[in-house]
């Protein structure tokens, strides 16, 4: 029902090409996440799918139907915006009912669908309030409610959680994931937060300067990053990327190893360095190690109990089976 196929889709603003011709298929029922640094074109790509921007060339098929010339309202998609974009002059009930009113459904049907959506999203008690009287999380739920009542063939989310505080964000992340499981509808989700991408996605699309760097499942991207950009972008804290002698010895231009794949010791190891800043999260501790002669800083993830002080001399041992090798062009050496 909700397959989205982009075929050589290109977008130019005047003479500036923000998205060079690009191919992508999002399968029916899939949770696809577009992730990348700000300005990488991920929101533009979503707006092209939505129809809020026109493609310069190429085609977009939704449900097998050529849609690049169809206005947004007719594409059968729902969108949740970063700013929620609720209608401030309407009650929650009217906000949720708006798409149904536009579709000219009869009153009884609208009422039952709105109440259903409100029940699912815990909004029943707030139906007669205005958006201005709601908290950020509740507003976001209203926006989602407005999206689900239409029963669209796919949902589009444009950084929907970035206006929420950290605790709420985690909660809403789970709610959206549960919603996806329950509705089993295609979702396309844009974020700059790789944690959101890793936790929610079936398929991650990593974008950089309008170009798709890699498409894959979260673990696929984590274990087999295609290039140094994906390697550095996916995973938190970032993968350590080292050049020079240590990389050459391994037969590569750049050598990557994730913080969690380096063992620390105070007595012996392959590499040595001096502890700089330590970050203690309780469950884990992150140490930023200087003076290793490998890179400016090597980040290491250790057990929460491990405690080194600023200036301590320590030893590091990487797991060789978990090292990533990249060539001069930054591409993975298989």
């Amino acid at each position: 029902m909700g397959q989205i196929v982009l075929n050589k889709v290109q977008k130019k603003f005047d003479d500036v090409e923000v998205i060079p011709p690009l191919d992508l298929t999002i399968e029916d029922g899939e949770f696809a996440v577009f992730v990348g640094p700000s300005g990488c074109g991920k929101s533009t790509l979503l707006r092209l799918i939505a129809g809020l921007e026109d493609v310069t060339s190429g085609s977009i098929q939704i449900n097998g139907r050529e849609s690049s010339d169809i206005p947004p309202a007719k594409r059968g998609l729902s969108m949740v915006f970063q700013s929620y974009a609720l209608y401030p002059h309407m009650s929650v009930r009217k906000n949720i009912a708006f798409p149904l009113r536009m579709a000219k459904l009869d009153k009884a049907e609208i009422k039952s669908r709105v109440e259903n959506a409100a029940a699912v999203l815990n909004l029943t008690d707030y139906l007669d309030r205005r958006p201005g009287q709601l908290s950020g999380g509740q507003r976001q739920r209203v926006a989602i409610g407005r999206a689900i009542v239409r029963e669209p063939s796919a949902f589009l989310f444009d950084e929907p959680l970035s206006n929420l505080d950290a605790a709420l964000r985690v909660g809403m992340r789970l709610e959206i994931s549960e919603l996806h499981k329950r509705l089993d509808t295609t979702m396309v989700y844009v974020t700059h937060d790789q944690v959101e991408a890793m936790t929610m996605a079936d398929k991650i699309v990593v974008l950089n300067a309008g170009v798709i760097e890699q498409v894959g499942s979260p673990l696929d991207l984590y274990h087999n990053p295609k290039n140094t950009f994906v390697a550095g972008f996916i995973g938190s804290p970032k993968m350590n990327l080292m050049t020079g002698e240590v990389a050459e010895k391994a037969g590569a231009q750049t050598l990557g190893v994730r913080p969690e794949h380096i063992a620390v010791s105070d007595s012996a190891g392959e590499w040595s360095g001096v502890v700089g800043v330590s970050e203690h999260l309780g469950s884990d501790s992150f140490f930023h190690i200087h003076e290793t002669g490998l890179a400016e800083t090597i980040t290491v993830r250790a057990d929460g109990e491990v405690n080194f002080k600023h200036g301590d001399q320590i030893f590091l041992t990487p797991r060789t089976d978990m090292m990533h090798k990249f060539d001069g062009g930054g591409n993975r050496i298989v």
């Binding site: 309202a73 998609l77 970063q82």
Partner: protein, 276 residues
């Protein structure tokens, strides 16, 4: 450092504000006072402020000599009609400039404004001739059209400023929700812009009400509004200040009362967008 607000300072500022306010208001106050004097007292030297024989004689004479209600009705039709018609045309225009601007939008806006810099008398001739040809001279519909066109740049500019304050994402959301262009403007944009539209309506009603150049030049008897009513008391029989003042007071009273009750809305409208 926060500015110190001592009692003295507050008193000085308050007095200064009242002085400026009264100075600006003085001509209107004087007109109203004069309208209650006899012709003799009106030109008395030294001028009489409050201590004279208050009389309603002038109002009685003015009402007897000319039909105030007919002028008032013409003013309401002309000011109201030109404002409403202007808004209906300006809303879609301002929508397109605010939400789908092209490279030329800024130029068009400035060009529209530049028409206000042309002295009106410069186009009097062509418009007068056109009015004769079209049989619009001394008709209400003719004045509605002219005043609507004269005030159109201001209406478009004001609405454009208000619309720019409305987040485009909300209109995009409406589009995603299946709203046609008509529904988008009718159900989402207009209700959100009601305060702005209301103050635009008010201000343009006042401007059209006070407009004297076109209303005096393009009307004679049938469509003459209150501006013509005042003018008819100004010269022919010498200067009758008291009667002229009574006529002026009657002409400005409705708009003064409207302005008084809507001052909050007007101030908000005029300063809207100035501070984010």
């Amino acid at each position: 450092m926060a500015r110190a607000t001592t009692k003295t300072r507050k008193a000085v500022v308050t007095i200064a504000a009242w002085m400026i306010g009264l100075t600006i208001f003085f001509p209107i106050l004087w007109t109203i006072l004069t309208s209650f004097k006899t012709e003799g007292q009106a030109i008395n030297d030294p001028p009489l402020f409050f201590f004279f024989d208050w009389t309603l004689e002038n109002y009685a004479i003015v009402q007897e000599r000319s039909n105030y209600m007919r002028f008032l009705w013409n003013s309401i039709i002309i000011a109201g009609g030109s404002t409403v018609l202007g808004i209906i045309i300006a809303v879609p225009a301002a929508w397109s400039m605010a939400f789908v601007p092209s490279k030329r939008t800024k130029d068009i806006l400035l060009w529209m404004l530049s028409t206000k810099m042309l002295p009106a008398v410069g186009v009097l001739y062509p418009i007068y001739l056109m009015f004769i040809k079209l049989g619009l001279l001394d008709t209400r519909i003719g004045l509605v059209i002219v005043l609507m066109l004269i005030n159109m740049p201001i209406i478009v500019w004001m609405l454009y400023t208000y619309f720019r304050e409305i987040p485009a994402e909300i209109l995009e959301a409406a589009r995603m929700d299946g709203a046609s262009l008509r529904s988008e403007i009718l159900y989402v944009l207009t209700p959100m812009a009601i305060p702005g539209i209301a103050s635009t309506l008010l201000l343009n009603f006042i401007l059209a009400w006070n407009e004297a150049f076109w209303t005096l030049n393009l009307t004679a008897a049938k469509a003459a509004p209150l501006t013509a009513f005042i003018a008819s008391y100004s010269s022919p029989e010498g200067l009758f200040f008291a009667k002229l003042s009574a006529a002026s007071t009657m002409a400005i009273a409705p708009i003064l009362i409207l302005g008084w009750f809507s001052q909050k809305q007007l101030v908000r409208g005029l300063t809207f967008g100035a501070v984010k």
